[in-house]
Symmetry: C2
Subunit: 192 residues, 2 copies
DNA sequence: CGCCTAGGTTAACGACCGCTAACGGCCCTG
DNA sequence: CAGGGCCGTTAGCGGTCGTTAACCTAGGCG
């Protein structure tokens, strides 16, 4: 394993707490003093680890987008040739991500506009590539449906899967299987 | 007609522009000067119409929640007795709302925590009642499914329908019918 | 031992922001 | 025509926030 670590480094602690706070109260609603306090240091001590508050948000959003895209690509390769299996795997992966990192999911489509231009463009590009993964496989499964409609449907299913932050989960397993069924049901209705 | 007006009053102008700006850059990311400039007056002139920035957000969120709930109740009454017709009507109504007032949909689940305690409780209560409308009718249609699961499904479909802000609509009619199909497909998969 | 680096601390600055104060013009009404 | 809301304006206050500066301490190492 390359990027996994047993004990989280200080940088990772900060990122994790910042993600939680940003998701709870919004980027502008959280002060650097609060982020520092959440990891036991106070205020400007954060600047030993990050260039600024913007840099934390940027690293979070770029990281999410990269992880989503990388995981998606791996799943497409693993189930190559069988579009139905690819789609099922993409759905499962997205559900895992949504349930494991609710805070990041929230940030992902909420605070994108707070980034500097370069970072925002990078994140947008990664997001777009991730969407293309889904669009390609869904188009294989529903050849009669136009590309624009498929794109809308993919975004809509993202909205469905990303709704997890709003609900008090009634058991991880049950939620997982329920979301899976709902997502498949939505796609199934595409060319009905 | 009681509340409709031909020419928008200044208050309504302000609310409309504030909604747009809040949705674009977040509540904390928009200054009162910007809101004023958007309606042609500048800065503190807003205080002739609202007690403060918080009051604008409060009125927006309470207004959305009330309109959603009122519209939902009306639809339940109109199609009384036929659960399938009620659900179809609720879905259509929610789609209309999502497509007509994207900015408000965005605010609705993004800036709730910026409200004063009393306002937040009111909005939460209205939201909960609206959800209950959906849960009741979906449970009638899927008697075998537990209440917690139905609630999750309803929230998930809200996420699906509210995904409209993210996409560049390819024609209002087409988007409307597409979202309708996806939502029905998701619910259909509930007890499969 | 002496020193450098890593990772903290507190103080303070400059910018911004929400809001109030004080003021003025327009228009309607008696 | 006098007066009073209504609806603006500008000036400025008080607080907060991101960031920098200056300083301190512990630990590894030649």
């Amino acid at each position: 394993m390359s990027t996994s670590a047993a004990a989280p480094t200080r940088r990772e602690q900060i990122l994790s707490e910042a993600a939680r706070l940003f998701a709870e109260r919004g980027f502008h609603g959280v002060g650097v003093d609060e982020i520092g306090a959440a990891v036991g240091i106070s205020g400007p001590g954060l600047y030993r680890h990050f260039a600024g508050k913007d840099a934390m948000l940027a690293e979070l959003l770029v990281g999410i987008s990269e992880r989503l895209l990388t995981g998606g690509r791996r799943r497409v390769e693993e189930a190559d040739g069988d579009p139905a299996a690819v789609l099922a795997s993409l759905i499962d992966g997205h559900i895992d991500f949504a349930l494991d990192d609710r805070a990041l999911i929230t940030l992902h489509d909420r605070e994108l506009d707070r980034l500097r231009d370069a970072d925002r463009k990078l994140v947008r590009q990664l997001q777009r590539q991730y969407v293309e993964l889904w669009v390609a496989v869904v188009r294989e499964l529903h050849p009669g449906v136009g590309e624009a409609e498929v794109r809308v449907a993919v975004h809509a299913v993202f909205g469905l899967l990303n709704s997890t932050p709003h609900l008090g989960t009634p058991g991880r397993e049950a939620t997982e299987s329920l979301l899976r069924r709902l997502a498949h049901g939505a796609f199934r209705a595409l060319s009905a």
